[in-house]
Symmetry: C2
């Protein structure tokens, strides 16, 4: 299996250059003071479509442009950010997008797909109908995370981090299907920071597809169907490519509980004044609970994976904050 | 009465330089597309303490350093952002702060004062007890908005806007007691943009202290006690200094309704992924409702005055967003 490497990452970064937002890596004084370590935040909530997902989708569309010709159209399946990202990237390139979404998808995510001109097929059979519509239309089918080009696109998050601040001890990355951490960890190995840095993934304890895949050695679905307030991380399974990258490049994957995610979510927004979705807060939850440690005086980078939190989700904060 | 001018503003900017955040002026593609004009946002939610208020308080403390000696301590009265700003600025200078707050002040605002080491006196008689404690302690009493030095400090927001983007048609500023718009409008007159620009204030219709003061020609309290979801703008009265600045420098003050503020608040956060308080959204509400107009193809600057929205406030978004 092809693992993403320096050449693949450099090609992805070149493809995306100027087409998307080069998001800032911002220091949080409040969080640094509270935690006793230097805290840097990669603000992918400020990315086009409100999440990192658009990097992978756009890179894959451009990388698959056979003989310079774009695909006739693209398809994917997703309940969330990958759906809007696919629609946005396709519109940027002037090609149609079809997204298979579950009937229960959050209305804000559905609206986002429509805003970018994407066609939606609502179905309980995401994988099967995704393959079917791809074949029928003759469109390029893009897996939302288990794809080398998608992983390479997400890896540009890591390329930017190591370029902007090549001096950190720990990089914490939210894990759903594993596309983001696969790309980011590959980037840290391909473009090493100035001192040894650990890359650690963070999963909700109730949405542990990657932890399960690591323990059984295959990307089979965990026995309990993933579900979390961090809805962006509730992938039903990891992927073959992402499992291989995590095994090769990631130091550890740790788990955090629902109440700790909610508390960290509010702490993160209150400290930074950035609107983020709960998935973006799992790294801070891991720090606050001691699930992962940073050397005293060290520097930690948190990837804020997205900002698509709707009013219904925000209403859940009131009881948690007391 | 001394109106703030270029020299006073330049002195304030020099005092604050390097002590506070030089907040970014960010363009919003989403809002620009939605409104058909170019939309720039001055992100004071990213300022220390989460609002512009700290500029005025810190400038006033430094400006009043008689013979180079800081005051022995400072006092103010406020239900909100000015309280935390005063505590923060005093701590930065190593002097004590006492803040008179109403008993019903939002807990997040109370906690913020305590976080920065401020002493709180809860009282129904804000003005009287503020004057009393200032005299008893021998501390410098700072009015939260009706003070030339405070206005000059808030005016550095305007200095930064005209420096960063000296080419806009309309500047929309939230109005409570009027300190922010007084300083910002003075800056636009002192350092004029490249083409004629209007400065327009926006008040909640239910918290219209400045509109009332303009209509009666004096800063008397309006007949109905101000109250709004934009709690930061519910000043009980305007000030003599702020009324004079608004008369001299501001083109218009317009009103927006509560539902329009709530809808604009969510639209603003969704589009920008910045956490802001409802007060910060009144400018967008005025644009969306047509209370103020921008020439087609023009550029509008919105001052996002603060980001201190707590979970209880955010929970109010759920019904509004449907």
């Amino acid at each position: 299996m092809q693992l993403v490497n320096a050449d693949i990452l450099a090609a992805a970064a070149a493809r995306l250059d100027g087409r998307l937002v080069r998001t800032p890596l911002v220091e949080s004084d409040r969080l640094s003071t509270d935690l006793g370590v230097r805290v840097l935040l990669k603000a992918e909530n400020l990315q086009r479509t409100g999440s990192f997902k658009v990097r992978g989708m756009l890179n894959a569309m451009l990388a698959r442009a056979a003989g310079g010709d774009l695909p006739a159209g693209v398809t994917t399946f997703s309940a969330g950010n990958a759906a809007a990202a696919t629609a946005y990237a396709a519109r940027l390139l002037g090609i149609p997008a079809v997204v298979c979404m579950p009937p229960g998808a959050v209305s804000a995510k559905v609206e986002a797909v429509r805003r970018y001109g994407g066609e939606i097929i609502f179905t309980e059979h995401l994988l099967a109908d995704w393959e079917k519509v791809s074949a029928e239309r003759g469109y390029l089918g893009l897996h939302p995370f288990d794809d080398t080009d998608v992983i390479a696109g997400q890896g540009t998050v890591g390329v930017e981090i190591t370029t902007d601040h090549p001096d950190f001890d720990l990089l914490l990355v939210p894990v759903g299907g594993g596309g983001l951490i696969s790309g980011v960890s590959a980037a840290v190995r391909a473009f090493p920071p100035e001192r040894p840095a650990r890359v650690v993934g963070v999963e909700p304890a109730t949405a542990n597809a990657m932890t399960h895949a690591l323990s059984v050695g295959a990307p089979t679905p965990p026995p309990v169907r993933p579900s979390s307030i961090a809805d962006g991380l509730a992938a039903p399974f990891a992927g073959e490519h992402t499992l291989a990258h995590v095994r090769a490049y990631v130091d550890d994957v740790v788990l955090v509980g629902e109440d700790d995610i909610t508390a960290a979510w509010w702490a993160l927004m209150d400290a930074t004044k950035l609107l983020v979705e709960p998935s973006a807060a799992v790294g801070l939850a891991a720090l606050r609970t001691g699930a992962v440690e940073v050397p005293a005086g060290g520097t930690v980078v948190l990837v804020l994976s997205g900002g698509n939190a709707g009013p219904a989700a925000l209403a859940k904060l009131a009881p948690a904050a007391g």
